[in-house]
C-alpha cells in the first residue's frame, strides 16, 4: 500500500518544528509501524536527506521506548498496543497519517519524534523504590501476600513508563504513571513501610517536573498500551489521604 505521511520534523530542542509531508510506497500490511518508518528512512538516506529520528528499542512492546502520536492517539489506533506492535494492516492504501511526538512541557522534543522522558525517571528517583532492609533472601512464601494484593501489584507493575498517559492527557499530567508505581509498591508488604513518604515525594516531584494536575478526563487509560486502569489513580489518592494522618 502507499501512504501519505505528515511527520513532525524538528532539528533540535531549541528549533521550531513543523509537519512535513512524505510518501511511503509499497508498504506491506505485515510490517510494523516502525518498519514502515524504516522503509521511509532508507529512501530518505538514499536521497541524501536527513532520516526521521524516532525512539525504539525492543520492538516487542515491552521496553516503553517507542513514542509516537498517530492521528491524534498515542501509540496509534489499536488499543493496548505500542507503536512497535502496531501493524500496517490497520491502515488502508492511500491513508493519510499524522505522526507527532509526545506533547507536554515536561517532555521537551529533542529531535523529530524523540522527546526527553527523563522527568519520569526523576519521579521514580523521588520515591519509586524500597529502601528498607529486608535481610537475606527469604524463603519462598515466608511473607504471605493475598492473591488479590499480588494481582493488584502485578497489574500496576505492567506500566512500562512509555509516557503515553502524559501524551494523551489534556493537562500533560503524569498521574497514571505515578499512580501505577505508587500502587505497585503500596500493594506489597515490603513497600508499605515507605508508602506514605513515597506518595508525597513522587507527587511533589511530578509538580516540580512541570506535569499538570489530574482532572479525571481518563484519556490516559485509553492510551495506555498496558491497560493500566485509572482506578490506580483513586488508589494513589487514597494513599495520599492516608499519608496525611
Amino acid at each position: 500500500m502507499d501512504l501519505n505521511l505528515y511527520v513532525w520534523r524538528q532539528k533540535d530542542k531549541d528549533s521550531q518544528g513543523r509537519l512535513e509531508q512524505y510518501k511511503a510506497y509499497d508498504i506491506s500490511p505485515d510490517m510494523s509501524f516502525l518498519e514502515m518508518l524504516d522503509v521511509v528512512n532508507e529512501r530518505l538516506i538514499k536521497e541524501g536527506k536527513e532520516p526521521i529520528a524516532f525512539d525504539h528499542d525492543c520492538r516487542e512492546g515491552i521496553c516503553g521506548m517507542c513514542s509516537q502520536v498517530i492521528n491524534g492517539v498515542p501509540h496509534g489506533p489499536q488499543e493496548k498496543t505500542t507503536v512497535c506492535q502496531l501493524h500496517m494492516r490497520h491502515f488502508k492504501d492511500g491513508d493519510t497519517i499524522y505522526i507527532e511526538p509526545w506533547r507536554a512541557r515536561a517532555f521537551p522534543v529533542i529531535k523529530d519524534l524523540i522527546v526527553d522522558r527523563s522527568a519520569l525517571d526523576r519521579i521514580i528517583q523521588a520515591g519509586g523504590y524500597i529502601s528498607v532492609h529486608t535481610g537475606g533472601v527469604p524463603d519462598g512464601n515466608a511473607i504471605l501476600i493475598s492473591k488479590k494484593d499480588a494481582d493488584t501489584a502485578m497489574d500496576a507493575a505492567q506500566c512500562i513508563g512509555c509516557g503515553a498517559c502524559v501524551a494523551a492527557c489534556p493537562n500533560g499530567s503524569a498521574m497514571l504513571f505515578t499512580a501505577a508505581k505508587v500502587s505497585h509498591l503500596a500493594s506489597l508488604p515490603q513497600g508499605r513501610v515507605e508508602a506514605a513518604k513515597r506518595v508525597c515525594m513522587m507527587t511533589e516531584q511530578m509538580l516540580k517536573e512541570g506535569f499538570g494536575n489530574c482532572s479525571n478526563h481518563y484519556e490516559c487509560e485509553a492510551a495506555c498500551p498496558k491497560g493500566i486502569k485509572v482506578s490506580f489513580i483513586a488508589k494513589l489518592n487514597r494513599e495520599f489521604i492516608k499519608a496525611q494522618f
Binding site: R105, N213, E221, N237
Partner: protein, 224 residues
Amino acid sequence: MRFVENPVGKKIAMSVTGFLLLAFLFIHLIGNSTIYLGPDGINTYAKGLHSLPPVVWTFRIVMLIIFALHIYFGIKVTLENRQAKPNGYAISKNINSTLSSRTMIWTGLIVLAFVVYHLLHFTLQVTQPHFITSKNLDYLGRPDVFKMIVLSFQRIGITLIYAIGLLSLMLHLTHGIQSLMQTVGLNNERFMPKFRLFGLIIAVFLLVAYLSIPTVVLTGVLKA
C-alpha cells in the same frame, strides 16, 4: 510541600469544597420548594430565615469562603494544566474525556457569573428597583418574596438567564460528582460506571428541580 500545593492536595481541596457546594444546592432547593406551598409557604420561610441574622450571616460567610476556595483552586489548576500542555496536536482525538470534563472551567465561570447575577437579583435586589420586597409586603406584613419571584420569572429574559446558568451547573456537576469520587479515592473499577450514572442523575435532578420554578411561573401555573 504544603498540602494545598501538592497536585493531589489541590484536587482534594477542590473536591471537598465542591461536595459542600453540592450539599448547599440541596439545602437551597428545599428552601426554594416552599414556593409550591404558595405565598404563605415561601414568605414564611423567608421571614423565618431573616429573623435569625447571626445564623444567616455565619452561613453566608462560610459558603462564601467555600465558594471562593473552589474557584481559586479551579482557576489555579486550570492555569497550571494549560502551562503543562503548551502545544496541542495537529490532529486531536478525545476517547474517554467528555464535553462536561473538557468544559469544567467554562461552565464553572458561567455558574460564577450566574451566582453573581442571582445574588444581585434576589438577595440584593438591585436588578429590579421597581420591586423591593422590604417595600412590598404581603397581607401579613411579610416581605412578599413570592410576588417578587413570580414577577421576575414571568419575564422570558430572566428565565433564560436562569436556564443558561442551571444548564451550565448541570454540565459542571455531571463531571464534577464522579470526579469527586475519584479524587477522594472512593472509585474502583466496579463503582466507576455507577458513580458516572449517579453524577448524571444528581445533575439532571437538580436541573429539573431548580428549573421547575421558572417553568411553572412562565407557563402560568403559579401566578402572583
